[in-house]
């Protein structure tokens, strides 16, 4: 009989028994038919029970059968102690669910290999350098440099150019029906090199990579083709328009490949040759990935890339060196090239969330450990009430190992129930957290399949948990001594020591979670209350685009018209919103001297822009419509500090130094207050504002193709105006179209998304940890009072007061609490170093960071102790002693 049959027989035991019974019966019948005496036949046969057992053992796997019996018994035990079991299952489910959700996230962002043929040979090429004593890692490259590197390492690796995926406006029909899609520029050979195949049509190829601007072809991802076009089989050949250009769809990628950036899913792939920066040697805009050829080593490849990169930059800087201080130049040229494995892709999300996710993971594991300690304590307490049963089992011949198995199986029942519940939690929680990762208008999109990786992880966790909380009580149960246990007196001290030890461990972990949560909450508080230097309340940022660049006069006309509309207080425009990305920086030269090495950050703004954002004008005047570039500029306080020793530069002139030592001369017409430029965490940087009115070589005014209108409304909810603006702007001029409307506050808040996420999750986990620790503490004290009823009763008789009783009941737990807190504090301070980069203006050693968790823990401990103390003080000595 096959193993499988023996396993399946387990689930039809009754039938197996019946079959054996029937066969033995037919033996008798045969014997009687042969004329034998019934009694003689029965005697000859011997004990039917014994033979049945022997036959049964042959047809079943006995240990598995025992396991089944234990499982049934375990479940029955769980049902018997409903409240305890429910508490245990729920707390474990919460912890296991959090673990699984965290694993799903970490797996999707950091671990899961890309669905391509050669994921394990995939590396990302980036540069690492030190500027102004700060180290930076850049992963953006310019395409001409990429080409030089590709040729140089042709024999060792294939290089891939991949832009960041950006949401782009495009239309399949008329301009009135614009929609957004995630577009990525990729080198033509990328898709075939990654071993991908077309589902329809063809993929991009090397021949789509020949001439800048000459290959308006696009390939769709399968997911996009499915949900946007309903798997339209005639998709190949359709066109769409994006940025004044018409692209033809030539194919659909087969499979779930959605780009190399976890966190964003590419809808449309277009060739790098269509990117406006493809010929520029000073525009770094794409990532570089490398697929190592078989047998190629990493280090020689890295060295070669570094050499090519350095030579290229040196060449490029020739002529520009006059405009650059020597140490800056050296720092720039001495950048190191890094080659890091990227089997699971490379994205900003990965870089940004690696550390937060790791911390999340640690918090979750701590919560799991707290829950385990809790359940172990509950099980130990329960085991004490089962001591008699276990002793009985030993006395009638149950082996020690069978006892261990019995208790472990019960733990496993608990763990697997909890894991099943936890899986439900993870199912819901993981996408919920992903939704919180990015700002709402551009949410992170991750593949979160519940495949064997997740299921396997869940099972592994359930097993680990079983061992963690089941093993100690199981081993303890197996050492039961029948003689003493059956007499009723059993040494309770060892058991209590174990329980107090577990309480100490719980408190330590709980302290750690609280401590970390405190740091993250403070970081979020400080960062979100950080002054930006401008007022974002009531401000809408209206991303306005035109089909072709329009004369500046039209834009001014638009601003004028909007300025007089109901509900609008002030209007201005800039090339990009404050804190909304778009970084443009140059060196500054004063009085024709070489630059001093401090970088100034640029922004193009219209007259009235500073009023719309309520940026204070400290000296001079705002722009007037006649101000132009080169010519007039506004600067900020930090600029005055960096280049004019803090004196107002109004009326003074300076030059902006571009690459190649090309200079433009400006006169400062006004000085404004400092504002945050790109990042909330950055120090305030020197800034130069220049007018939109750009004079060409012949003195003509250049047209403007797009700008962010900054609209200050009178309403506290500026979004009520968004539909009005969408309708109104095309009415002023049909060429104008609104691409996107955001509030300035929303843009500001997008800088604290990560901090908010960490703070929210950390607070959630602290609440869970506190709850679990509180329940654990309560349970242990409750058990303790039960155990010592007699002693306490006697103490009350001889005149002990409530304070005395409270001391007796809580002293051991209090010691565990103090020890645990001390351990947690040490752990916390030690671990804070690894998280320091995530904190903002808060240190692990700040006294409030240490005092608050301690106070919270003490409060919870007191709350948990009160019921036990009350119970102890209410013990009626008379009835207690009568029972004995």
């Amino acid at each position: 009989m096959s193993m499988w049959r023996r396993v399946t027989n387990l689930f039809r035991i009754k039938q197996v028994n019946n079959e054996i019974e029937e066969e033995l019966q037919s033996h008798f019948d045969e014997a009687l038919a042969q004329g034998r005496d019934p009694d003689e036949a029965r005697r000859a046969f011997g004990s039917p029970l014994r033979h049945r057992e022997a036959s049964r053992d042959a047809r079943l796997i006995t240990w598995l059968d025992a396991l089944r019996a234990d499982a049934i018994f375990g479940l029955r035990q769980l049902r018997k102690n409903k409240i305890t079991s429910l508490a245990a299952v729920l707390s474990l489910a919460l912890a296991i669910g959090s673990c699984m959700a965290a694993f799903r996230l970490i797996d999707a962002v950091l671990l899961r290999p890309l669905p391509v043929a050669n994921a394990d040979h995939l590396y990302e090429v980036s540069r690492h350098g030190v500027f102004n004593n700060q180290s930076f890692t850049y992963n953006a490259w310019s395409y001409p440099l990429f080409q030089a590197m590709r040729v140089a390492v042709k024999d060792q690796a294939e290089l891939l150019a991949v832009s960041n995926t950006e949401p782009e406006d495009l239309t399949y029909k008329s301009d009135q029906e614009m929609e957004r899609a995630q577009v990525q520029y990729v080198c033509g050979w990328m898709l075939p090199t990654l071993g991908l195949r077309p589902k329809l049509g063809r993929l991009l190829s090397e021949s789509d990579n020949l001439h800048p601007g000459a290959h308006p072809y696009a390939v769709l991802s399968q997911g996009y083709w499915e949900h946007r076009f309903g798997e339209d089989p005639k998709i190949v050949g359709r066109t769409f328009r994006m940025d004044e250009r018409v692209y033809e769809i030539v194919g659909v990628v087969d499979g779930e490949f959605t780009g190399t950036e976890p966190g964003t899913m590419v809808d449309i792939f277009v060739p790098v040759m269509m990117h406006p920066g493809v010929s520029a040697n000073d525009w770094s805009w794409h990532r570089t990935l490398a697929i190592l050829k078989l047998g190629a080593a990493v280090e020689p490849l890295r060295a070669k890339l570094e050499a090519v990169s350095r030579a290229f930059e040196e060449q490029r800087m020739n002529g520009a060196t006059a405009g650059m201080p020597k140490e800056q130049r050296d720092a720039f040229l001495n950048q190191q090239v890094l080659l890091e494995p990227a089997a699971s892709g490379a994205s900003q999300l990965r870089t940004d969330t690696r550390r937060p996710l790791t911390i999340l993971c640690v918090l979750v594991v701590l919560v799991l450990l707290i829950a385990c300690a809790n359940v172990a304590n509950l099980m130990t307490a329960q085991a004490s009430s089962r001591a008699r049963e276990l002793a009985l089992r030993v006395s009638i011949g149950g082996g020690r190992w069978r006892l261990v198995q019995l208790v472990l199986v019960q733990s496993a029942c608990l763990a697997f129930l909890a894991a099943a519940l936890g899986a439900l939690l993870a199912w819901w929680a993981a996408p919920f957290v992903v939704g919180m990762i990015n700002p709402p208008d551009n949410p992170a999109r991750l593949l979160l399949p519940a495949d064997w990786r997740v299921v396997g992880f869940g099972l592994a966790i359930a097993l680990a948990v079983t061992l963690l909380f089941g093993l100690l009580p199981a081993l303890r149960a197996s050492t039961v001594n029948p003689a003493t246990a059956l007499k009723g007196g059993e040494d309770a001290h060892a058991r209590q020591r174990l329980m107090h030890g577990l309480i100490g461990v719980q408190v330590a972990f709980c302290f750690l979670v609280l401590f970390v949560a405190g740091l993250f909450v403070t970081t979020f508080e400080r960062l979100s209350h950080e002054s930006t230097g401008f007022s974002g309340d009531c401000v809408l940022v209206v991303d306005t685009v035109t089909k072709q660049a329009q004369p500046l006069a039209y834009w001014n006309q638009l601003l004028d018209q909007l300025r007089h509309r109901q509900g609008i207080e002030a209007v201005g425009m800039s090339d990009a919103p404050l804190l909304g990305g778009g970084n443009w920086s140059n060196f500054i030269s004063v009085d024709g001297l070489p630059p001093n090495g401090v970088i100034a950050y640029m922004r193009r703004v219209s007259p009235g822009w500073i009023d719309a954002l309520k940026i204070p004008l400290l000296d001079g005047r705002d722009f007037l419509p006649r101000d132009s570039q080169p010519g007039s500029a506004l600067v900020n306080q930090a600029f005055a500090n960096a280049y004019f020793h803090g004196k107002s530069p109004v009326g003074r002139t300076f030059e902006i130094v571009f690459s190649g030592n090309f200079r433009l001369r400006f006169q400062a017409v006004g000085m404004v207050g400092d504002v945050r430029y790109e990042e909330l965490r950055q120090p305030l940087v020197p800034q130069v504002y220049v007018p939109f009115r750009i004079l060409g070589e012949k003195g003509e005014v250049r047209d403007v193709g797009g700008a962010d209108l900054v609209v200050r409304t009178t309403s506290t909810n500026p979004l009520v105006l968004s539909q009005f603006l969408r309708d109104e702007i095309p009415q002023v001029r049909p060429e104008f179209r609104v691409s996107r409307i955001r509030t300035q506050l929303e843009i500001n808040q997008s800088h604290t998304v990560r901090e908010r996420l960490l703070a929210t999750l950390a607070v959630f986990f602290s609440v869970v940890a506190l709850l679990l620790a509180g329940v654990g503490l309560y349970g242990v004290l409750h058990y303790y009072v039960l155990q010592r009823q007699r002693e306490i009763g006697i103490r009350i008789v001889v005149g002990a007061g409530i304070a005395n009783i409270a001391r007796i009941v809580t002293v051991d737990v209090f010691i565990a609490l103090v020890g645990g807190s001390a351990a947690g504090l040490t752990l916390g301070i030690a671990s804070a170093r690894f998280m320091a980069s995530l904190f903002y203006q808060v240190k692990a050693t700040d006294p409030p960071m240490l005092i608050v968790p301690t106070l919270v823990l003490i409060a919870v401990a007191i709350l948990a102790a009160i019921p036990a103390v009350i119970r102890a003080s209410r013990i009626d000595p008379a009835s207690m002693l009568r029972v004995e």
């Binding site: 096959s2 033995l24 033996h27 014997a31 022997a54």
Partner: protein
């Protein structure tokens, strides 16, 4: 009942296999009767041990069992050799011969 079965214990498998190799599709009682008959009542299988032995051999894959309905309408479980069982007959037989020869040598030389 005579207590000669002990000596038979190890060779019960051999006897059952041998019987089944001559006559297929026998039920337990028939196997027992056959052993008794052929050995002229010298070998008596302890009836109870027969079934565990049969089930063990079934689990080892030497014999295959199936339920058949007899003329009287009752069901009986009949056994037959599998391919593995047929090979096993040879193995068991040669082992028996080796043991018997060894025992004989001891008897002769002692």
């Amino acid at each position: 009942m005579s207590r000669r079965t002990d000596a038979l214990q190890g060779s019960l498998d051999l006897l059952v296999l041998k019987i089944l190799s001559r006559r297929s599709r026998l039920h337990g009682y028939a196997i027992m009767s056959a052993i008794q008959e052929i050995s002229a009542d010298v070998l008596r299988v302890e009836e109870g041990s027969l079934y565990p032995a049969l089930h063990r051999m079934e689990e080892s894959g030497w014999v295959r069992a199936e339920w058949v309905t007899k003329e009287n309408g009752r069901r009986a479980r009949v056994y037959q050799l599998t391919t593995a069982g047929k090979k096993q007959v040879g193995t068991e037989e040669s082992r028996w011969k080796a043991v018997a020869a060894a025992v004989n040598r001891v008897l002769l030389e002692a």
